[in-house]
Symmetry: C2
Subunit: 133 residues, 2 copies
Amino acid sequence: MIVDPSADDRLDRAFMALADPVRRRIIARLSRGPATVNELAEPFEITKQAVSKHIQVLEHAGLVTRTRDAQRRPVHLDAAGLEALTAWIDRYRLIHEQQFRNLDALLATDRGTNAAASDAGPTAGPEPEEPRS
Amino acid sequence: MIVDPSADDRLDRAFMALADPVRRRIIARLSRGPATVNELAEPFEITKQAVSKHIQVLEHAGLVTRTRDAQRRPVHLDAAGLEALTAWIDRYRLIHEQQFRNLDALLATDRGTNAAASDAGPTAGPEPEEPRS
DNA sequence: CGTTTAATCAACCATATAGTTGATCAAACA
DNA sequence: TGTTTGATCAACTATATGGTTGATTAAACG
């Protein structure tokens, strides 16, 4: 049993969880409000057990939570989990776009003097590697 | 050989591609500019072949592209691929938040008259299921 | 030409994942 | 108490994934 909720592992599980069309449809359904396993399983051709496993995967990834209501276990979307994903993607997407802006500025002042025009692409610069937080 | 770039399959591959810390670090590196396979492989303990496979996965997922420069094959980030992911996530995250705003509005006017307060959560309403586009 | 460099192809192994069927648990109800 | 309902547990199968080593392609260099 793994008890290491390192940031990397959480991202692993969250991206992996969404890499399945069934689980994405479950998220889509839950975005409109909580639902039970039976309700979630209804639109699919697979067994209820399989859907139950999918929900466990989503829960373990921090994308949904489960409460108790008698013998029912309603599943709720956890929007914070989804937001962590967009945060990760946007970080690098925006860095990439910033690099292009830098390149544009370079080309505007320094008219294609040397490299940069070939394939070096946006300025490589020194290592910011992991812009944590 | 699969030739079906259905929207679902593209999302499958893109999310799956990011569900691996090595590939996420590759994306992080590429956000600062293109790099060759050897450059990308350098920080990792695994073989160059393994990194090459990771890059193929990212390419097949539409997150990077490869060009040619003599015997080198520089890898470039494809920001559009990343954006498709944030678009998917944000869609359902925002629907979910809208539901909560609706619930807040309901509770503000209609003082906890009946259900809704238990576990029914945000308004379930009729089926918008897949808010395509 | 022969060799070095950059990268991929091919075959293989270990592990993880998605699905199944059948049994079990736990609360509600009669 | 006995049964129905909602959901999970357990064991098993097949397929996919991530990694390895070894061979191969392809361009540059001497």
